[in-house]
Amino acid sequence: MSIATLTQNEGAFTTKSQKDADVITVRFSGEVDLESIDALQRILIGAHEIALAEHAKQVIIDLTQLEFMNSSGVKHFVTWLRSASQLPDATSYKIRLVASKTIPWQKRSLAALRTFAVSIVSIVHEDGAEA
């Protein structure tokens, strides 16, 4: 699996990905609903597998252009964060969630998600300030 597989452009949910040194970044746009939920699941599983295969130190998920995510999307994030938080130190990576200050649902959803992997997850706004 390559970093390019984390870029997808189908329907209302699109992603762009890049890898710089040991940091994988995936930018989400649009919205996650019942139609795009499988795509979200593939992206999160893919990010996890690539991070492990390429010994990444950090995965950044940029949500600043994600207008909405349904509860099924929340569920897939929980699954991913729990998997990542259970990795041994040798393969562990940090996760940075970049939130928008102007999309209200993100504040509560991301705060809830962080509780599943407090030691590896940080939440920041687009200006870099801690959310």
């Binding site: 609903d33 349904n70 509860s71 099924s72 929340v74 569920k75 929980v78 699954t79 649902w105």
Partner: protein
Amino acid sequence: MQFELTFQPTIPLVTVIRRTVTSIFDRVLGDRERSARLALATHELLENVVRHSTDGQTTLQIHSSEDTRGRVTIETRNKARREDITDLTAQALAMATADPEVFYLELMVERADSADDGGLGIARIRAEADMLVDVYDEGEYVRIVASMPLSDAA
């Protein structure tokens, strides 16, 4: 204000209605955070219908007036399978006596490894949108009502 729509929700229509609800309540309430909470609830309730309605049909009602004691309510009513109605009423009953956030987080863990993507919607409405959620078993129909004050002062 009263808004009622009887229709067959599809995934794209759910998004259209969520955006419409956001626009209406942005103007009515002048409170973007509160209108986003209503939009989240509307989306989750309608996706619930898409998943569980046995005939694809629902009635969506949104009320906000002094008649509703300064609250805004969002309601869906649709036919559903008996086991889905039983699950929803049981979840609402358990949620009513629990801390909403603790209940939501525990349910997230429970659902995390499930092959089924559903099951978090009404707990999310309760915890994230900070709305009360009531589920009514009406025989072959299920009616779900989410409500919140129109303002902090209400």
